[in-house]
Assembly symmetry: C2
Homo-oligomer: 332 residues x 2
């Protein structure tokens, strides 16, 4: 089978040089594991962190390793009583045609609820991140203004829609007209700011969030975030979910200091990782499935065809190529 | 009587030019008010914010106004049933020989519990700030490492001691050997770092906080804070109480971006203002008085003699002249 290996650590923005597609042996599942034929694999911004040779919340990839990531696929061989060949599952796998999954960490997918790619997006890790990050950290109240950066991504688009369900005014930042139109016309965002069409994010927020910002869900960092912090209302909550603007930085990035702003607003800024909410993943999944099934929340996936194009799909995350969740179709 | 008036708005570091001592009429209390002969008045870093012509959490002073601040004094004339001439009280007054206080906002002081200046420090606003900021925002747990900047100030010295009562390892930053010795030898801090003796705060923290930082109580901002953020443990809490390093900045200060650090640590950073805790001030006062009376917590005041020296006492806050609470003795 074919599998992508980690060829070299990038400096700054990654290139295709970091990836090496090799022919390799199909892995063999051990007790408690499943061999899965991968249908779709997920590429996510957090993977840039795994390319660094430093401990962080995700273990660094070793050069030479097969790349890892979320997959959806069909069980080919089961070494776990709960699963049989033919079952459709999602879990942590590899950038490969076949992956071995830990059955205890895997979950069934139901193609009647949503198409398979959705299980890597709104019904997968990004959906859960949006759910807990917004509801637990952001604590949105009816009437609040919620601002989301990276709003047309897998996480951001879900955050905005959950905020709408909670009675909030929702403003999203995104980088193309196609994205901003999707947010306002299809997803019900109250306003969307194309950050590539203006440098004055503060003025754009004066228009889009005239009553200030109560909740900021940050996937991006950088100048957008700098502007939002100047608009935080009393008791505002900031959920720091991602900082994709800085993932390729080789030096510690600098910018305006924000702590002085927090005293007057008594705002709370909190970093989050979705895995901390693992004991409640079932709750999120049940709710998200219900919202998706009822049409209360919409979702979208950008599908790149073919395992051979997985690195391009990953690199595209940093130029904003995706609308909604970026996935790679490995097999039909 | 004599009273200090606000003469002009400073740019950058304030000077004596902002202050004007004038002879003026002794004010007359109205219904519900007390005329108080001021014994001690408080100068506090937050007053720098009131010198700006911009709305913040404290209303800006108007040029020409009498300067306002906390005082302790003796009631000379009472227009409130609860107080009589001769009572010792503390409340919000003026930089003057006599002040009119709102009786409903005033509180009695008991010279048997502590000397009068303590009611502007550990038994006043700074003590309450320390109490709620540490316990509510910092949420210290036994065994936690708590780092305090501005540790020899009125707030910081109280924070560190309350953290010790809660079973924490406590590390303070201060700017003289006299201060660091006070922290470790008299107040029981586990370590104190003289930030004027080293540029490498990170290395100093590696020694003083070898298990990382669980709670950071920040009175200062700037490079000390930058270093502490690189040491935050999982689930760390940062209480942003003051940013005295930046109060004289005319431009928005810049520095290393901290949000990327918050994701891995899932740290929470929260600004605080003590007035939000007003409904529980009685609780703080009762506990702080008990701790002071029993000797569980020590306190210190730096007393400048004479109303005429109040501006110097205020300016000294920015050069760290004070140990513990800075007060001005206006009358015996």
């Amino acid at each position: 089978m074919r599998a992508w290996h980690f060829a070299e650590r990038p400096e700054g923005e990654p290139t295709l040089d970091s990836f090496d597609l090799r022919e390799t042996e199909r892995p063999t599942p051990r007790h408690g594991e499943l061999l899965v034929r991968v249908r779709y694999l997920s590429v996510d911004p957090y993977m840039r962190g795994r390319m660094r040779d430093s401990e962080s919340y995700a273990d660094p990839w070793d050069v030479g390793d097969v790349l890892r990531g979320g997959v959806v696929g069909e069980v080919v061989e089961s070494e776990h009583d709960g699963y049989a060949a033919g079952d459709l599952v999602t879990g942590r796998g590899t950038w490969a045609e076949y992956s071995v999954l830990d059955a205890d960490e895997a979950a069934r997918v139901d193609p009647d609820v949503a198409d398979l790619p959705a299980y890597l997006g709104i019904l997968g890790m990004p959906g859960r991140t949006a759910y807990f990050g917004l509801l637990d950290v952001g604590d949105p109240q009816p009437g609040d203004t919620v601002v989301v950066s990276g709003a047309a991504g897998a996480v951001g688009s879900t955050v905005g829609q959950i905020a709408k369900l909670n009675g909030c005014r929702v403003v999203g930042f995104a980088g193309t007209e196609e994205k901003t139109s999707w947010l306002t016309d299809d997803l019900g965002f109250d306003a969307a700011i194309n950050y590539k069409q203006t440098d004055d994010y503060r003025a754009a927020l004066d228009d889009a969030a005239p009553e200030g910002v109560d909740v900021y869900f940050d996937n991006v960092g950088g100048p957008i975030t700098d502007a939002v912090f100047t608009k935080l209302n009393l008791d505002a909550r900031v959920a720091v979910c991602g900082q994709i603007a800085h993932y390729n930085d080789e030096e510690v990035p600098t910018g305006p200091r924000k702590l002085p702003l927090l005293i007057a607003s008594r705002a709370k800024v909190e970093g989050l990782l979705v895995r901390d909410y693992a004991p409640r993943f079932d709750v999120a999944r049940e709710r998200l499935e219900r919202w998706v099934a009822s049409g209360a929340i919409d979702h979208r996936e950008t599908v790149v065809e073919g395992l051979e194009n997985a690195p391009d799909a990953f690199l595209g995350l940093f130029s904003g190529d995706n609308i909604g969740k970026q996935v790679v179709r490995v097999a039909e």
